[in-house]
Point group: C2
Chain length 338, copies 2
């Protein structure tokens, strides 16, 4: 294959857009409801049908948590999609989210199989000042990285980053890992349990561009290669805590609050204790902080996460044609060849 | 009494500072914990003792809700302090907050009696962009209005307003109504379940100034009269809702979001529906919006509240002396004479 020849990748005929995986992250809840309403109006048919040979499935992932406007009922649903949990046997006494994760795996997966949907876009909010982020498990999934590049071009006013959690497919735990491709679309800051118009609109426009990109791709558009900045998660930092009560004893320092993705240097202020003392970053390497002061992570022991930034080259891509498929079947072209 | 002669009011010997009346409003939770810790260190004695004949009682109002980082367990504690609820008979099956409100009434009240503490400052957070607000049930409680004026002077960088809910003492429902004087100190914006350093610090400094003012007052300082802007609540506006599901169908309009206390005129944008339509304010009177997009009020059917602003004259005040008390007992001077 020549250097400039686009990589040919299989078409994406089944796409899922999921909201309410966390029931109190409201942009996705209201966006999926709105999309379902429009779809019902437009087609008066089932959810699965769509134009141009592409089906878009809209899913409210955790209906019980949505109904109670809570993150989850018994356990964090978005940690239930490991191979181990999906293959565990459940009874009626199992945590609700464990049962629900297996239902979603049946609907959108099974994870790791040919039957899985081609792409999952799972909608989230954060209280951190993160703008719009894609979060995925791979820094070489050309589909996700090209969609990200497309949104960056189409929405130049929204700060946008690609976060990479370097976790194996087997260990990957979130709903988007059930699809052949998938990412979480995370937008903040927005308090959980609140819907802000600007955040809702950014998500709505973002999802429209995702679906547009898939239609362009399926219809044969060639997407040029280029470079993408990828933030790979390195480690989490917990709050300082009282050794006996385990209560936190400090908040994020005011100099760090809201400064997600601004490089944190050794000795920069990290926390301010409730008595007023400044605690500093003791690491030796400058890293990029994100998920700074995310509400739901207090209980997980995460005050912020830190990432290393790298530049990834992505090749030009286009959809596989019938000729490719025949060639591939005869062993001439490998799908993932670079 | 001459025009310039200060009104003489009884000293304030017992003050309560309460946090965690809503268990997920974290500034007050961490501030009261910190004050309790300092007090234990300083005195190694009980909570009630304080310098200069003034006792400061620090209270975590809803320990179970704090422990679960939720607003409440069974019912909103801060609606449980009406005469009716406080005098209702309870069993072990009663809602937790109903039992707890009666405990707090025993500790800080009983409401409406001579035994009640002199002043309650109850600490709250809101997701609305309200700065620091005092919320009280009277526009003629000179103690609360003077404390408010003092904080305004001492903290000129913090936007500060006095909100008046025109509700009778019998119907008043919040914890601060248990004291002889009382107000909620409400600071936002801050997501519930999150503690932000800047908000925590503003509350800490605010509470210090409240306690300083009480010490000054008790020691005989004369506080000059003046004018205070008071925002009296007129009405609430709910979100547009789907008639069958009762789900909201619109969010606060982006032009209104975060513009608490900016005058809302007839025909100004109020909501943006999830399909993108603008809905306008249909009232005929310009009013001041507040509690715009407060998280906890979705379930109460309140998208925002509206207030009328008026200017209230407050007289100069000073503490009653022993001579006053004797004169008062002999019928020469009325406490509340203006």
């Amino acid at each position: 294959m020549e250097a400039d020849e686009p990589v040919h990748l299989p078409g994406l005929s089944r796409v899922a857009v999921c909201g309410g995986t966390h029931g109190n992250e409201l942009s996705g809840v209201y966006l999926v409801r709105e999309m379902l309403k429009l779809k019902r109006k437009a087609t008066e048919m089932t959810q699965e049908k769509d134009e141009e040979g592409m089906s878009v499935l809209m899913v409210l992932s955790n209906p019980r948590a949505i109904q109670q406007c809570r993150r989850y009922i018994d356990a964090d649903l978005n940690r239930c999609f490991t191979h181990a949990t999906l293959n565990d046997s459940t009874s009626d006494a199992a945590p609700y989210e464990m049962i629900r994760s297996q239902e979603l795996n049946s609907m959108l997966g099974p994870k790791g199989t040919k039957e899985a949907v081609d792409l999952i876009c799972d909608l989230h909010n954060t209280t951190a000042n993160m703008g719009l982020c894609f979060i995925g498990y791979s820094d070489s999934d050309w589909i996700c990285l090209h969609i990200f590049q497309h949104l960056k071009r189409q929405m130049p006013d929204i700060p946008m980053r690609f976060i990479h959690f370097d976790v194996s497919s087997k260990e990957s735990y979130s709903l988007d890992s059930v699809g052949k491709h998938g990412f979480a679309m995370e937008i903040g800051p927005q308090p959980h349990g609140v819907v802000r118009s600007n955040t809702y609109t950014a998500m709505k426009v973002g999802v429209q561009h995702v679906l547009d990109w898939v239609r362009f791709f399926n219809s044969g558009t060639v997407f040029e290669g280029g470079f993408v900045d990828v933030f790979t998660m390195v480690k989490n930092i917990d709050y300082p805590r009282d050794s006996s009560t385990h209560n936190i004893t400090a908040a994020i320092h005011p100099h760090l609050q809201d400064r997600d993705f601004c490089l944190l240097h050794p000795q920069d202020p990290l926390f301010q204790t409730f008595s007023g003392e400044t605690l500093r970053y003791k690491g030796s390497e400058p890293l990029y902080p994100f998920f700074i002061n995310e509400c739901a992570y207090y209980e997980k022991g995460i005050a912020l996460s830190l990432a290393r930034k790298k530049r990834v080259m992505i090749p030009a891509i286009r959809v596989q044609t019938n000729d490719d498929k025949q060639a591939s079947e005869q062993g001439f072209v490998s799908e993932e060849e670079e």
